[in-house]
Symmetry: C2
Subunit: 337 residues, 2 copies
DNA sequence: ACTTGGCACTCGGGAACACAGAGTGCTAGA
DNA sequence: TCTAGCACTCTGTGTTCCCGAGTGCCAAGT
């Protein structure tokens, strides 16, 4: 049904439309791409493509525009990810290398990605669930308060101030800290609940109320942060583009953690580092936008996801190249630290 | 030059224009506000107001629109801050009370303010400079690495992983921690550099390289975070409004920490908790927007600033009321913790 | 000295209209 | 199967026209 030339025509339409933002007609196609055939022939092919739903015309007697289905075919079969230039790679590397802590890595990554793609970049913080405890710290603030600091192997630090039910002196706090660390050091966060389950029983009875309080806060920390933090950057890049769904909706979605989460999508367990492309109506919310995302993290344990969000009319090969490259570099940085 | 009636006319113009977003004419004014005079009289007053530069007409034979100068007069002399309703107050209180840590307080505050004012809310993190050290923690990660955690009295936690120049065993780390805390506990952050200056000399010579490394990172942390973190929310509220300067510029400014900082302005030392209103061209960048801001923090020590950013055509009394109220509540919350 | 009604004037914005140009679909011929 | 030609259909643009809101000014009234 779709011979090679028709596919070439579709590719040409997508490329032209992406670069010009104007419906593309048969004549312009024949001129710009050397397809070796006349506009009339192209018109026939276009009619076929439209019949199949890959392209559409905004109104009679205007050029054609790719549909979501057309972009999908383009991404799947007609294009290949465009690698970054050497200069860009070096820029990424040096920019990310300057990060001082996890927060900084994430902030730099999201800005970098926004600048590179000229789209809105979205980065999820490394997830807690798959990371392990590196250290638990209990810092006495005064005799009724301690600060709980949880440090993970991904460099993430969670802290909470805990109001104790009774006065507990520092040596007992220190003891508890030692016990906690002995118990949890190096363990996966998801195992923490079961590991601390019998802890109160192994401690002096007079400490139990305090321990119970501390443990409940600890568990709460793990649970609450389970819905992960997500940041974005590059909202200014939305100003130019026009969204079918309206700019307001997009901005609202960006500030809604949950929606953003859904848009980035789940890391598919089989091929975690694969690029996910969701085009237009394939998205759960925000039908008018496309999302290019991928997991990142060192090797086998994927930490979280990052990607960009933009209009369906985007340069997929370049965007995919940038997302993939940034994901690799940030994985590398995180693995090193 | 400007008698009471002319001022009343200006006030009416501002109020009408803010609520309708359309240039307001003499007839409509005479009808809606009971000014007891005829449209012709109002026209004369309007001519005088325009002469003085308080209002302007977009084109001949359209109604009048306030100028920045007009809004300025309105804010300074013709309006008073509108207090929030009881329901709103309770909503603020309960919403902010649920915060678990500093991050959470800031996030909740900025969202709350955005929702309350239907503008873009901006909140600066409590500044480090005026806060004091509550605790310094050194956590050995392995024999060549420690994590430095700095906890301030404002609940802020800074952490850094430090690569040591040589292997240092845990007891020596523990000792150093004790020394650091003895030295710094309760001290203002700005005093830290001088306080630690002679520290290496007071320690065994073999520890000095490690100590020097740790101290340099500590000082770096203080300096680097000196340019404060700023967050915003409610960008979606920009979608409706029209900015003379273009939406893109506003969005860019929002993501540029430095610009945002300048927009929020400095806390004036004499009356730190006063509301600052910058209208249109009074702003350093972003001439087309207005900023309503104020300092927050408990009592005499102001911690940072918060405020909202919107079009010059904004409801100043309501916005000012919301900003003031939120600043008070968040100050209260921070003082309690 | 202000205020008011009347009146002519100005301009923006919407409706109606024509028109050029791009693009298409179709058909007949190579 | 491709190509050339042709008639057709739109959109977008430019033009014109006109209504109406709103103004400025003047002369009369209080």
């Amino acid at each position: 049904m779709l011979d090679d030339r028709k596919l070439a025509v579709l590719r040409a339409i997508v490329e032209d439309y992406v670069s010009t933002n104007e419906p593309v007609g048969s004549k312009a196609l024949a001129e710009r791409h050397n397809l070796k055939v006349s506009p009339a022939t192209i018109r026939n092919d276009m009619a076929a493509l439209e019949e199949e739903g890959y392209i559409t015309q905004p109104h009679t007697s205007a050029g054609r525009v790719p549909t979501d289905k057309g972009y999908r075919l383009f991404v799947d079969r007609l294009s290949q990810v465009k690698p970054l230039s050497g200069a860009e790679r070096r820029a990424i590397e040096t920019f990310l290398a300057g990060a001082v802590d996890l927060d900084d890595v994430v902030t730099r990554t999201v800005r970098l990605l926004a600048q590179l793609t000229r789209q809105v970049a979205v980065v999820q913080y490394p997830t807690l669930t798959r990371s392990t405890v590196r250290h638990v710290e209990l810092v006495p603030l005064n005799d009724r308060r301690v600060m709980l600091v949880l440090i993970t192997n991904t460099g993430r630090v969670e802290q909470r101030v805990i109001e104790l039910p009774e006065v507990v002196d520092e040596t007992r706090i220190a003891h508890l800290r030692a016990v906690l660390n002995a118990c949890l050091d190096g363990c996966g966060l998801s195992n923490v609940p079961e590991l601390v389950a019998d802890l109160p029983e192994r401690l002096p009875v007079e400490d139990r109320p305090a321990v119970a309080t501390i443990l409940s806060v600890l568990l709460e920390t793990l649970v609450e942060r389970h819905d992960e933090k997500i940041v974005f950057a590059g909202a200014a890049n939305l100003a130019g583009a026009d969204f079918s769904t309206g700019l307001r909706d997009v901005l609202e979605a960006l500030e809604e953690q949950v929606v953003l989460m859904r848009l980035l999508g789940e890391t598919t367990s089989d091929t975690p580092s694969a690029l996910t492309v969701r085009i237009g109506s394939e998205n759960p919310y925000l039908r008018g936008t496309s999302v290019v995302a991928t997991g990142y993290g060192s090797g086998d344990n994927q930490l979280a996801r990052l990607g960009v969000l933009g209009p369906t009319r985007m340069d997929y090969p370049v965007t995919m190249g940038a997302v993939r490259a940034v994901a690799r570099y940030v994985s590398q940085i995180l693995a090193a630290s």
